[in-house]
Amino acid sequence: MYINQELCVQCHACIPYCPMKAIEYKEESKRVEINIDECVECEICGNADVCPTGALTMEEMKWPRILRNQFSNPLITHPDTGVPGRGTEEMKTNDVTGRFKRGMVGIAIEMGRPGTGTRFYDVEKVAMAVAKVGVHFEPHNPVTKLMTDNTTGKMKDDVLNEKALSAIVEFDIPIEKTKTVLEQLKTVTPLINTVFSLDLACRLNEDGSNPAVCLAEEAGYKVSVNGKTNVGLGRPLAKEE
């Protein structure tokens, strides 16, 4: 995104819309400018329709900068997943896909969320840390697609300094590994320069109980009171193994 200075009337209306605070009034130039290194190409400023003259302008992006747009603007259907947004269908369709079977747990580490953004070198740090204890990265996740080695979590060198509004490290593990993986995550947490939101998904037991929550608590994580429930009305239902 850039500001067409011939059109900009210096009203400053766009400034607060930027989640990265990349739109700034520069005293030296006496004009509003976008810090292109911090801009994640989310298009929030442009889509907010607050510019009276249409000065906010998208320009054609090449690899690897295009990643910023693909990860940060949820209005775009991500080319690697076929669904809008930066994630996958995950547990939303688990009743028909059977992706998370009993005995397995899905974990997602959404780097940069909430509202902070992430460089991919921080995404790589976290991916490589959890890979050390053996996880199965979700093959359809767009972060996994940027890895050069799915067993180590190493990512392509040319994407590491790119920045996105958020990016999700997503993987499955056998339930008995839950505590080990969450404890391993704690070792890398102080080394990253952003925040992340963490979640855990699993198929419920036949008696309706949740087999994974206590493991997260044993690993020292506080489980939030709110969550997301797939109520099992999708058809055809996935076969249980």
Binding site: P19, V96, E110, G115, S197, G227, K228, T229, V231, L233
Partner: protein, 207 residues
């Protein structure tokens, strides 16, 4: 992923915040599912959700409900936001009877959403829990700002926009309800809860 999860707040603050949404699986039952989303909309809209939207089109506050309701696609994800647990239970009951075949997901306080399922004898299939925010959390603004911002899971409601509008409310230039509607426009999917946002804004600004 998880666009309706990670809504920050305590049990009291989240007690008026529920999302019911429908999705089809691209590899299983998506083909030809657009009319099913229309049926989903016909059901949930009867219960007057405080927001309604589809990732493919927009929401009640930026394009309007009618536009959303005439634009469903096979890869739509359609959301309705409610403020009362009892209404959610009624919506869920109708959705079960309609047997649309779409995956239906319910977000909110798990104790309450489980009770909704229990009331109508639905056995929840899969649950996803938030384990909170970690890392450089000292870079985050005050909790109230985060509570409002996280009502858009894609981060379309920036911290700085909320802080800007709080100043405007305090100066008497705009009301909390008007700000809540403006913020709701930003969250394209329609999962932002303007009723809850207005309550938090009033608390923040003492207005």
């Amino acid at each position: 992923m998880t666009h309706t999860l990670h809504r920050k707040g305590d049990k009291e603050g989240l007690s008026n915040d529920y999302i019911v949404f429908a999705i089809s699986a691209q590899t299983v039952n998506a083909k030809g599912s657009a009319p099913k989303f229309k049926e989903f909309g016909d059901i949930v809209l009867k219960y007057n959700p405080v927001n309604y939207g589809d990732m493919k089109t927009g929401n009640a506050y930026n394009v309007g409900v009618d536009k959303v309701h005439e634009s469903y696609k096979d890869n739509s994800i359609v959301h309705a936001v409610f403020t009362e647990e009892d209404i959610v239970a009624k919506v869920l009951k109708e959705l079960r009877e309609a047997d649309l075949g779409l995956s239906i997901v319910l977000s909110g306080i798990v104790e309450h959403t489980s009770e909704c399922c229990h009331k109508i004898s639905i056995e929840p299939h899969t649950i996803e829990y938030s384990l909170g925010i970690h890392g450089k959390t000292d870079s985050l603004p005050e909790d109230n700002v985060v509570e409002i911002s996280t009502m858009c899971g894609h981060g379309m409601v920036s911290f700085s926009l909320i802080e800007h509008f709080c100043e405007e409310i305090e100066k008497g230039r705009i009301t909390a309800d008007e700000v809540a509607r403006k913020l709701a426009k930003q969250c394209h999917c329609g999962v932002f809860n303007p009723t809850r946002a207005a309550e938090i804004l009033r608390l923040m600004t003492d207005m």
